[in-house]
C-alpha cells in the first residue's frame, strides 16, 4: 500500500459533525472492546488530513471500526482490531510524525476515552466566534455536557453535593472577541443554566452531567431553578449572588419563592475582599461559599458560622487543612 496511490482515493464520504456521533459509537465499541483499540490522528494541513482520512478508511476495511472526528478535530478510527491498527499507526506516523498519532485500548483506557469524548461537546476555542446578532443561536447550539462545569463538595461522610454551573472560561474561549464582554457571558450563562433542569430529567444526559456520581444534593445557578414550582425536598440548592444583599426587596421575593418550592440557598462567593466590605452576620440563612486563597485570614471567619460554610478551592490538600483548622465541614473542589 503506497501513500501516493491512496492520495488518489477520492471523493471521501462525509464525516459527521465533530463529536456528534462519537459518544454512542464509543459506548458501542466499549461493550465489545477486548482486543480492540481507538486510533487517533492529528492532521492539520488539508492535504495531509485528506490522506490520513483515506488511510483510516482503508484501514477500517481490514481492521474493522468506524472513522469519526474527535472533539479536538482529530480523526479517529474507533473499534479497530489492535494488531492491524498498530501497523496502520506506523504508516500514519510517516505522514504526520510520531507525535501526531494516539492509541487507546478499549479494554484499559475506557475512562480516558469517555473523558475525551465528553470534551467532544465543549465549544472550541475560537479567534472569531459568533457575531452579536447570531449569539443566541450559537448559545442554543452549544450542547450542555461540554459547557457545564462540575464541582464536587465533600463533607465528613464523603460526597455531600455536586455543583453544576456553566463554565464561563470555556464559553468565553469559544465566543472569540465577544467572550471579553462579562454581560454577554452572563447572558450565555443564564441561557445555558435554564436548560439544566430539563437535561437532568433525561437519564442519558443526567448521567453525563453528573459524571456517573449520585449526589444527594445539587447546587445549581438561580436561573436553573427559577421556574421550578415544587422541588423534591432537600435535593436542590440555588446559588445567589452576594450583591442581592443590597436589593432587600428582590432578595425577600427570591428567598420566599425558593422556600415555597423547597429549594435551599447557597450564597456565592465571599472572599477576603468581600468579607472586608460587608457585615457577614447580615447574610440570610443558608450555606455560604467562601473562597480559599492566600488572602483569607482564619481570624476573619468567626462572625460566620463554620457549619454554614463551603470552602471553595482549586487545590484540595491545603484547603482541607484550612477547613479542619477553621472547623469548616464542607470543601468544594474541581474533583
Amino acid at each position: 500500500m503506497s501513500l501516493t496511490s491512496l492520495a488518489a482515493v477520492q471523493p471521501v464520504p462525509p464525516i459527521p459533525a465533530p463529536g456528534a456521533a462519537l459518544g454512542p459509537a464509543l459506548r458501542h465499541a466499549l461493550r465489545r472492546g477486548r482486543g480492540h483499540v481507538v486510533l487517533g490522528v492529528e492532521a492539520d494541513a488539508p492535504h495531509r488530513r485528506r490522506l490520513a482520512r483515506a488511510l483510516l478508511q482503508e484501514g477500517a476495511l481490514a481492521a474493522g471500526g468506524q472513522v469519526l472526528e474527535g472533539p479536538d478535530g482529530a480523526l479517529l478510527l474507533v473499534g479497530a482490531e489492535a494488531r492491524r491498527a498498530q501497523r496502520l499507526r506506523g504508516l500514519l506516523e510517516r505522514l504526520v510524525g510520531a507525535a501526531g498519532t494516539r492509541l487507546w485500548s478499549l479494554e484499559r483506557d475506557a475512562a480516558a476515552l469517555l473523558a475525551y469524548a465528553e470534551g467532544a461537546h465543549a465549544p472550541q476555542p475560537s479567534a472569531e466566534g459568533p457575531d452579536l446578532a447570531a449569539l443566541d443561536a450559537w448559545i442554543a447550539a452549544l450542547p450542555l455536557a461540554g459547557t457545564i462545569g462540575r464541582r464536587i463538595g465533600e463533607g465528613p461522610e464523603g460526597l455531600a453535593f455536586l455543583r453544576l454551573a456553566p463554565d464561563r472560561t470555556r464559553i468565553a474561549a469559544g465566543l472569540g472577541p465577544l467572550g471579553a464582554d462579562a454581560d454577554l457571558l452572563d447572558h450565555a450563562e443564564a441561557a445555558l443554566a435554564a436548560r439544566l433542569l430539563p437535561a437532568l430529567a433525561d437519564p442519558d444526559q443526567a448521567r453525563r452531567l453528573l459524571g456517573g456520581l449520585r449526589p444527594k444534593r445539587l447546587h445549581l445557578p438561580l436561573a436553573a431553578l427559577s421556574g421550578l414550582g415544587v422541588a423534591p425536598p432537600g435535593l436542590f440548592a440555588a446559588t445567589l449572588p452576594v450583591a442581592l444583599l443590597v436589593a432587600p426587596k428582590r432578595l425577600a421575593t427570591v428567598l420566599a419563592t425558593l422556600e415555597a418550592a423547597g429549594i435551599g440557598t447557597v450564597f456565592e462567593t465571599l472572599d477576603a475582599a468581600t468579607l472586608a466590605l460587608l457585615d457577614p452576620a447580615a447574610l440570610p440563612a443558608g450555606l455560604i461559599r467562601l473562597a480559599h486563597g492566600p488572602g483569607l485570614d482564619p481570624a476573619a471567619i468567626p462572625p460566620l458560622d463554620p457549619s454554614r460554610l463551603i470552602l471553595v478551592a482549586e487545590e484540595a490538600g491545603a484547603a482541607r487543612a484550612f477547613a479542619r483548622a477553621a472547623g469548616i465541614a464542607l470543601v468544594e473542589t474541581a474533583g
Binding site: 452579536l132 446578532a133 443566541d136 447572558h187 443564564a190 432587600p248 468581600t274 466590605l277 457585615d279
Partner: protein, 391 residues
C-alpha cells in the same frame, strides 16, 4: 360674571368634545389595529392639594414641552384627567410619564398610567365615559397579559445600531442637586444629575420589547448608551456650556475606554465638577472596583455611592465616605421612616463628614426638615425641582 361663565361653558364644551374624540380615536385604533402609546394622568389618584388648577396647568405645560416634538395628541377630559396619545414607537410618551412622576410625590406616581392601544382600548373607553359622567367609575380592568416580543441578541444588535444614531437628550432625566439652608434663601444649584431614563431608552431602541427578559443583554445596551452620553458630554459644544454634572455609571463603563476618553477630554480643573455614582451591588460583586474608584478619586473626580436605602448603611459600612476612603459621597434615598429610625451609622457619618451626604428622592417638606435636623444640606428630588421653579 357673565363672560367668565360663558368662558367656563365653552371650556366645558371643549373638554366634553375631547372625551368624545378620545373615544373615537380609541375605536379607530382598534379597527385599524394601529399601535399607539398612551399616557393617562388620573387626577383622582392625586392628593387633593395637587389637584388645584395651577398644578394642573404646570403638569399640562410639562406634557406640552416633552411631547412638543413627538406629534402626540393631548386630550383634556371634563374631569380634569389628561390623556396623551402618540403613534408607537413613541419614547416621548415614556419620557413624559417619567418626567411627570419625577415631579410628583412617590405616593402619587400611580396617577400616571402607561397604556398601549389597541390592547388597552376598554380601559381608555371607560376613562372617557367616566370623564363624561356617563358611567359609574368601573374598576380598572386588569391590563391584558402583554404579548411580549422576544428580546435576544439579534434585537440587541439592531438596538445598538439604532443607538448610534439616536438622540439621547429626549431620554435623559436631568434633576438638580441643590444646597438648601435652614436659614432660608434660594436653593443653590450644586450640580445637575444627568441619568438615562431606562424605560424611555428601552421604548426608543426596543419598542414593545421587555429588556428585563435578558438582563445581561440589557446591561450591555446600557453600557453602550452610557458611552454615548460620555462622548456627548466631552464634545466641545457641551464643554462650552459646561455645568457641574452628576452621572451614574455601570462599573464596566467606568473602567472602560469610553470613560478613559471622557476623562482625557476633560480639562483637569473640571474633574472636581464631575460626580460619579457607583452601585453598592456592583462594588460587592467586584470589590477590586474600589481600587479603580480610588484611582479616579486621586485624579480629582468625586465618587458617590448611589441611591442607597437607609437600612443598608450598617451592612456595608466600610464602603461609606470618611476616613480617607475612595467614596466621597453618599446618595441616601429618602424614606418616610427615616425620622423615626435614624441609622446609627448615618449619625456617625454626618458627625464626621457632614458634607458627604445627598438626600435623594425628596418629595415632601418633612424630608428637608429631617435632613436639616440631621445636618444634611444637599437635596435632590421632585420637591427640589418644584422649589427651583419657584412653586
Amino acid at each position: 360674571m357673565l363672560p367668565r361663565a360663558a368662558g367656563t361653558d365653552a371650556a366645558a364644551e371643549r373638554r366634553a368634545r375631547a372625551a368624545v374624540e378620545l373615544a373615537a380615536l380609541v375605536r379607530e385604533s382598534v379597527a385599524a389595529d394601529a399601535m399607539r402609546e398612551v399616557l393617562h394622568l388620573r387626577l383622582a389618584d392625586l392628593a387633593p392639594a395637587q389637584r388645584r388648577p395651577h398644578h394642573r396647568r404646570l403638569m399640562r405645560e410639562q406634557l406640552d414641552s416633552v411631547l412638543a416634538a413627538a406629534r402626540a395628541r393631548i386630550f383634556d377630559l371634563p374631569n380634569g384627567d389628561m390623556v396623551a396619545i402618540a403613534r408607537a414607537p413613541a419614547p416621548a410618551i415614556e419620557l413624559a410619564a417619567a418626567a411627570l412622576r419625577a415631579s410628583l410625590d412617590a405616593a402619587a406616581a400611580e396617577a400616571v398610567r402607561r397604556l398601549r392601544l389597541p390592547e388597552s382600548a376598554a380601559q381608555l373607553l371607560n376613562a372617557a365615559a367616566e370623564a363624561l359622567g356617563l358611567a359609574p367609575p368601573a374598576l380598572p380592568a386588569a391590563p391584558p397579559p402583554e404579548a411580549a416580543l422576544p428580546f435576544g441578541s439579534a434585537e440587541l444588535a439592531a438596538a445598538e445600531r439604532a443607538l448610534a444614531a439616536a438622540d439621547l437628550d429626549p431620554v435623559t432625566i436631568v434633576q438638580a442637586v441643590c444646597r438648601l439652608d435652614p436659614e432660608g434663601g434660594e436653593p443653590a444649584l450644586a450640580w445637575e444629575d444627568r441619568r438615562l431614563c431606562w424605560p424611555a431608552l428601552g421604548a426608543l431602541l426596543l419598542p414593545g420589547r421587555d429588556p428585563d427578559l435578558a438582563p445581561g443583554l440589557a446591561r450591555r445596551l446600557r453600557r453602550a448608551a452610557e458611552a454615548r452620553l460620555l462622548a456627548e458630554l466631552a464634545r466641545p459644544a457641551a464643554q462650552a456650556f459646561w455645568r457641574p454634572v452628576g452621572l451614574s455609571l455601570s462599573a464596566a463603563t467606568l473602567t472602560g475606554p469610553a470613560f478613559a476618553r471622557f476623562a482625557e477630554a476633560l480639562p483637569t480643573g473640571r474633574r472636581a465638577e464631575v460626580t460619579l455614582g457607583l452601585g453598592a451591588a456592583e462594588l460587592l460583586a467586584e470589590p477590586s472596583l474600589l481600587d479603580a474608584a480610588a484611582g479616579l478619586a486621586r485624579r480629582g473626580f468625586l465618587l458617590a455611592l448611589d441611591d442607597l436605602a437607609p437600612a443598608l448603611l450598617g451592612l456595608i459600612s466600610p464602603l461609606l465616605p470618611g476616613g480617607g476612603r475612595a467614596i466621597g459621597l453618599l446618595r441616601l434615598a429618602w424614606e418616610p421612616g427615616l425620622p423615626a429610625a435614624m441609622p446609627d451609622r448615618l449619625a456617625a457619618l454626618l458627625a464626621e463628614v457632614p458634607e458627604s451626604v445627598v438626600l435623594t428622592g425628596v418629595d415632601r417638606p418633612a424630608a428637608i426638615a429631617w435632613g436639616w435636623e440631621a445636618g444634611i444640606r444637599l437635596f435632590q428630588g421632585p420637591l427640589v425641582e418644584r422649589r427651583r421653579r419657584g412653586l
